[in-house]
Symmetry: C2
Subunit: 142 residues, 2 copies
DNA sequence: GCTTTTTGTGCAATTTTTTTGCATTAAAAG
DNA sequence: CTTTTAATGCAAAAAAATTGCACAAAAAGC
């Protein structure tokens, strides 16, 4: 079963309906391997002319609620969204000059601290977001 | 010399003028011990009726450029700003239900990874942002 | 299949946040 | 105290996020 199909199934299991818009959104989310803004989604091949921006907005919102999508700040004025895949936690490296965004492959070093925080503060449903910002080699030169 | 005075001096050294608005903003930034949105700043005692929102916006922008203020995403729709103090790096713990934001005191565990990234990618001016999200004890109950 | 119920969708409009233009004012420099 | 340059207020524009509502499509029941 393809990733999109299994995501659709997972979405259905948590109460969403299987619609063209949702399928197109999942295709987009799985194809584009980086967080994207609402605007980027609606101009992406898989979604453009498939459905309205408001629809994508509401779908992303629902998927965030269901824990299938994560909303990121990333310093920009618009919010970014990215799929949450099992066994995959991603930190990002962002160039504040050209805006490039790349996931970091190194193991994330904050899980231990997160455990401590859970114990000490009593927070539940804990997760974290870690981003590195700087000037990429290209932008450093100019 | 007070913190505000030394910040004003530092700002002046990097090309800004000593104005009432800037002083009021620094007072606000040093008094309120958490990142705040533009809206929060302009309704804060120290700034309200002291200067226009556009002025605060432009000052924050300049201070970000000078490296004296940091702009944070924090998952909300509005951007947050916070003072960058020497020898102080802050990570945050945020409740996604009630929106509370508190700085974390534990030593930040990502400096080592940051060094590796610097070496491997050639990025310059590197810094990072780390936030933990979850439901605080209060919000976990309900 | 067909009908009912419930949820999703498009479109337009609204709200919120961010950003800019421009005439005026204030700070710094000489 | 004049000149130069940067900062400010106000209003308006641009960008992003969000909502209302009539209609369409999916799921559920028969």
């Amino acid at each position: 079963m393809s990733l999109v199909s299994s995501l659709l199934q997972q979405a259905k299991d948590s109460g969403l309906r299987r619609t063209k818009a949702l399928e197109a959104l999942f295709t987009c989310l799985t194809t584009c391997d980086r967080p994207m803004t609402l605007n980027e989604f609606t101009t992406c091949n898989h979604l453009a002319s498939q459905c309205d921006k408001a629809t994508v907005f509401r779908l992303l919102q629902k998927l965030c609620d269901k824990g299938m999508v994560r909303r990121l700040g990333l310093h920009e004025r618009a919010a970014y969204f990215t799929l949450i895949l099992p066994d995959q936690h991603r930190d990002y490296l962002i160039c504040t000059e050209c805006g490039s965004i790349e996931p970091i492959n190194a193991p994330c070093p904050v899980h231990k601290l997160q455990e401590e925080i859970r114990k000490e503060t009593g927070f539940t449903n804990l997760y974290h977001e870690l981003e590195f910002f700087g000037h990429c080699p290209k932008c450093s030169k100019s």
